[in-house]
């Protein structure tokens, strides 16, 4: 299946793209997908992941998700 991967702020710099479509399997977790597409990238404890625009678990399979987004610490306002 295809999944749209979005990055923002410092994660866009780290990964070198803002939006890209990747292949993945429904039983893959966000952590596994990012390990595959950006082996150097470590989310640490501060970067969250969103699946279909909801905060999600790094270790929960993505299922039929259409979108995966890296959410570094936010700073709106």
């Amino acid at each position: 299946m295809k999944i749209n991967v979005l990055t923002f702020a410092q994660t866009r710099t780290q990964l070198g793209f803002g939006e890209k479509v990747f292949d993945c399997e429904p039983n893959e977790t966000p952590r596994e997908i990012f390990r595959r597409l950006a082996p150097e990238f470590d989310p640490g404890k501060t970067i969250r992941v969103a699946v279909n625009q909801e905060y999600a678990d790094w270790d929960q399979p993505v299922g039929e998700a259409f979108e995966l987004a890296l959410i570094p610490p936010v700073s709106g306002g």
Binding site: F8, A9, A50, Q53, E54, I71, V74, S75, G76, G77
Partner: protein, 127 residues
């Protein structure tokens, strides 16, 4: 409880005030303004980016949650994106309610939640 969420790339235009109900007793407006000093450095402004559809979804969820505790009549939430020069507003929130306590508590908690959970980021642009 009516909510209006808007993202704009132009200077924020404060929406006209028309009271939707004769039972509104409080109108509270907050403007977040870009300051000249960011971590001790003089900046010309800040650039904001957002995951817009997710930011909207998160805000709607937060407004539902907070509205259950602090019943409000109407909320306007406007966040500016891209470059915002020093002295201009990056954020405008208007809350109307019957009693002041709901607007005041809502405003404080909404901004706290915005700064914790809504996917919007600022980057300072140094000269």
């Amino acid at each position: 409880m009516k909510t209006h969420i808007e993202f704009t790339r132009a200077p924020i235009v404060v929406p006209a005030q028309k009271n939707s109900s004769r039972e509104i007793g409080a109108c509270l407006e907050f403007s977040g303004i870009v300051r000249e000093l960011e971590h001790g450095k003089t900046i010309p402004g800040l650039s904001y980016e957002a995951h817009e559809p997710m930011a909207r979804t998160q805000l709607e969820k937060i407004l539902r949650e907070l509205g259950a505790k602090h019943p409000f009549e109407e909320i306007f939430f406007i966040h500016r994106l891209e470059f915002v020069p020093v002295g201009e507003a990056s954020l405008f929130i208007r809350i109307t309610s019957r009693h002041r306590q709901a607007s005041l508590a809502m405003m404080a908690e909404l901004i706290d939640r915005l700064k914790a959970d809504v996917p919007i980021w600022k980057n300072s642009e140094t000269v």
